[in-house]
C-alpha cells in the first residue's frame, strides 16, 4: 500500500504541472482582495479514550480560528476522500489535492489525568512537504482552548509569515442595565469571547481598561471616589491600587509605556485637560502638554519616542503627534469631521482612530503622517479601537441607537474586511487587546 502511494505520488510529480499552486504554501496579507487558502483539519487523533472530547474540541477550535480570519477557508470533512486516523500515518497527498485542500493540519491529543498535550503537523499539500516542524503543546485539560489557539497561531504564522493573535486575551468593560443606570465592571476574555472572568464588581463606574505590554496589569479609570481616578490592577490576583498621579481633580485615559514602567494619562484641573507621564518606580511626574484646550487619549509609538493624542486646540477634536517628552506637536488629521482615541499600531506604521462626521461614527486607520486615511466601519456610534498583537485586526465598541441602545464589541481587519461581533452574553465596551501569551 505504502509503495503504491509512493509510486502514484512520484508519477504525479513527474507528470508535470498538475499543482494548483506554484512555490511553497504562502499567503501574503495585503489590503487587496485575497483568495483564501483552503485547508483541511481531519479530527485530531485521540491517543487515549480520555482524550476523545478534547481532540474533537481542539480540531474544531483550530478550524474556527483559521476560518474566522477570512484568510482561510475550510474544506469540510464531508468532502474528504481519505481519513487521517493516525498522526504518524503517511499523508495521502493526492486525496487532499483532489479536494483542493492547499493546507492539511493533522494532530493528536493525549490526556493523562489533568494534563493535556496536543501535537500537530502542517502540510503543504500541493508541494507534498511538511511546512515547519511538528510541534507539541502541553498544559491542563481546562486550558484546552489555549492549546488549540497555539496550534492556530503556529499555522497562521507559518503560512503568512506574520505573528498570530489567537492565544491572546482582551480586557474590557462588561455592561448591564438600562442606559441611564448602566452597570459597568471590568472583565477579561479570550480574544474570541470565551472564558469571561470578572475583575471588579459594578459598585462604581469603570472605564477604558488598558493592558500592560506583557499582560500582567491593567490600568483603568474608576469612579470609586466619585472623581475619575486611575487604578492599576494585577491580573493574576485582581489586587488593585490607585495610581499616584500628579495632583489634579480628575485623572483618566491611561496607557502603559512599552516597558510597562511608565504611565501616560490625562489630568484635568480647572476645566483644562492635559497629558502627563508618571514613572511607576520613581513616582516622578512630567507634564507633557500645557495648552488651555483638551489634550487626551495619548498613545505611545512602539519605540516609545513619540505620542499620538487628540486635542481640540484647533476648535474641534483632531489628532496630533509629539515627542514622548512633550513639546511642539504636529497635526496629522485633516479630513472632514472630528478625530479621537488614536492608537499607535504595534508595527508602528499606522494609527487607528475614531472619526465622527455627519452624525456617524467610524473606526479608521491612517499613516503616521496622516496620509492614506481609510475608514473601516460606519455606524451610529463606533469608538475606541484596539490592535491585535500582530497589527492585522482592530477590535472596538459599537453602541446601538435609542433608548434601548446597548454596546457590543466588534472586530474588523485593517483592510475593512471581516467585520464581526465578538460573541458575548450581555453588553461590552472599551476592549484592550493584550499580547500573545507565552
Amino acid at each position: 500500500m505504502m509503495k503504491r502511494l509512493l509510486t502514484l505520488l512520484v508519477a504525479l510529480m513527474l507528470a508535470g504541472p498538475v499543482l494548483a499552486q506554484n512555490g511553497p504554501l504562502r499567503l501574503t496579507i495585503t489590503d487587496g482582495v485575497i483568495e483564501p487558502i483552503t485547508f483541511a483539519v481531519p479530527s485530531f487523533e485521540a491517543e487515549s479514550p480520555a482524550a476523545q472530547q478534547a481532540a474533537s474540541d481542539i480540531s474544531r477550535l483550530v478550524v474556527q480560528d483559521l476560518a474566522g480570519t477570512g484568510l482561510f477557508r475550510e474544506v469540510p470533512a464531508t468532502a474528504f476522500i481519505s481519513q487521517v486516523s493516525s498522526f504518524v500515518q503517511p499523508v495521502a497527498f493526492p486525496d487532499w489535492r483532489a479536494i483542493n485542500a492547499q493546507a492539511l493540519i493533522v494532530g493528536a491529543v493525549n490526556v493523562n489525568g489533568n494534563q493535556l498535550s496536543v501535537k500537530f503537523r502542517l502540510y503543504d499539500v500541493f508541494s507534498g512537504q511538511e511546512l515547519g516542524q511538528g510541534l507539541q503543546f502541553a498544559g491542563t485539560v481546562d486550558g484546552w482552548r489555549r492549546m488549540g489557539h497555539k496550534v492556530s497561531d503556529a499555522v497562521y504564522s507559518r503560512i503568512t509569515g506574520e505573528g498570530g493573535y489567537f492565544d491572546s486575551r482582551v480586557v474590557f468593560v462588561s455592561e448591564s442595565g438600562p442606559k441611564d443606570n448602566r452597570q459597568k465592571r471590568l472583565a477579561i476574555m479570550d480574544f474570541d469571547g470565551a472564558n469571561v472572568q470578572f475583575l471588579t464588581d459594578s459598585s462604581s463606574i469603570v472605564l477604558a481598561p488598558r493592558f500592560s505590554p506583557n499582560g500582567d496589569r491593567v490600568l483603568y479609570t474608576s469612579f470609586e471616589s466619585g472623581f475619575p481616578r486611575i487604578n492599576v490592577l494585577n491580573v493574576a490576583n485582581v489586587g488593585r491600587q490607585q495610581l499616584q498621579t500628579a495632583p489634579g481633580e480628575m485623572a483618566f485615559s491611561p496607557r502603559f509605556s512599552r516597558d510597562g514602567r511608565q504611565v501616560i494619562y490625562s489630568l484635568s484641573n480647572g476645566g483644562n485637560t492635559d497629558i502627563y507621564r508618571t514613572d511607576l518606580s520613581t513616582g516622578q511626574h512630567v507634564r507633557l502638554t500645557s495648552a488651555p484646550s483638551i489634550e487626551t487619549a495619548p498613545s505611545l509609538s512602539p519605540d516609545g519616542s513619540q505620542i499620538v493624542f487628540e486635542s481640540d486646540r484647533s476648535g474641534n477634536q483632531q489628532l496630533y503627534v509629539m515627542s514622548a517628552n512633550g513639546g511642539e506637536a504636529r497635526r496629522i488629521s485633516f479630513g472632514q469631521g472630528r478625530y479621537g482615541t488614536p492608537v499607535w499600531s504595534p508595527r508602528g506604521d499606522l494609527v487607528a482612530f475614531t472619526k465622527q462626521n455627519a452624525g456617524r461614527f467610524h473606526i479608521g486607520v491612517m499613516r503616521i503622517d496622516g496620509s492614506e486615511e481609510r475608514l473601516l466601519t460606519s455606524s451610529f456610534l463606533d469608538e475606541g479601537p484596539t490592535w491585535s498583537p500582530n497589527g492585522r485586526v482592530i477590535m472596538f465598541s459599537r453602541e446601538t441607537q435609542g433608548a434601548g441602545g446597548t454596546s457590543s464589541m466588534y472586530s474588523v481587519d485593517i483592510s475593512g474586511r471581516n467585520l464581526k461581533a465578538v460573541p458575548l452574553q450581555g453588553g461590552a465596551s472599551d476592549p484592550s487587546w493584550g499580547p500573545l501569551q507565552p
Binding site: 505520488l9 512537504q129 470578572f198 481633580e249 477634536q317 479621537g340 482615541t341 451610529f380 435609542g402
Partner: protein, 173 residues
C-alpha cells in the same frame, strides 16, 4: 524520496492557570451614580422652605444646560446659578460637588474632559458670585450617566448639563 519526513517534535509547556470561579465578586449592585450621591434625590425638607436642599434643587434649580460641545453658561443658566450662589452664601453649612455631563455624541475620554470643562464653568461662575471655592468641587461623568435616554436632541439637550450636588458639611468656610 521520503513522503513522510520525521521532524523533531518541539515540546512547549503552557502555564494554563485554571480559574475555577469566573466571578469572584458576586453580582454586585448599584453603580455609584451621578445625581444620587448627595442630597439631590429624596432630599429632606420642603420646596417652599428656602433653607432646604429641596428648595435649592427644585425651586432654584440644581442644573444648567449647555449647547453642543460648549461650556458657556447661557443667560438662563446665569439666572439659575445666581440663585444657587445666593443660596450657598445663605446656607454656609453646605458644600457642593458640581458634576459635569455630556451627551452620547462623542468619544468617552473627550466627553469626560468636556464634562469637567462644564463643571468648572459653573464653579467659576459661583465663585465670581462670592461662593468660596473651598466649598466647591468639580467632577465629570462624561457620557456615562445620561438622564434622558433617547438618541435625539430632545434628550441630548437634557444630558448636556452640570448639576450642583449639595452635601452637608461640618467644615465651615
Amino acid at each position: 524520496m521520503t513522503v513522510f519526513k520525521k521532524a523533531a517534535i518541539v515540546a512547549l509547556v503552557l502555564a494554563t492557570a485554571a480559574c475555577t470561579n469566573p466571578d469572584r465578586f458576586g453580582g454586585g449592585a448599584g453603580a455609584g451614580g451621578a445625581d444620587g450621591a448627595g442630597l439631590n434625590t429624596g432630599a429632606a425638607g420642603s420646596a417652599s422652605d428656602p433653607a432646604s436642599p429641596l428648595f435649592f434643587n427644585q425651586t432654584i434649580g440644581d442644573r444648567v444646560l449647555f449647547a453642543v460641545d460648549t461650556s458657556t453658561i447661557t443667560p438662563e443658566g446665569q439666572t439659575i446659578l445666581d440663585g444657587q450662589a445666593q443660596w450657598l452664601l445663605t446656607n454656609a453649612d453646605y458644600r457642593a460637588v458640581i458634576e459635569g455631563h455630556a451627551d452620547e455624541q462623542g468619544t468617552r475620554e473627550y466627553n469626560l474632559a468636556l464634562g469637567q470643562r462644564r463643571a468648572n464653568a459653573v464653579r467659576e461662575y459661583l465663585v465670581s458670585r462670592g461662593v468660596p471655592s473651598t466649598r466647591l468641587q468639580v467632577t465629570s461623568f462624561g457620557k456615562e450617566r445620561p438622564i434622558a435616554i433617547c438618541s435625539e436632541e430632545s434628550c441630548y439637550a437634557q444630558n448636556r448639563r452640570a448639576v450642583t450636588v449639595l452635601s452637608f458639611s461640618d467644615v465651615t468656610s
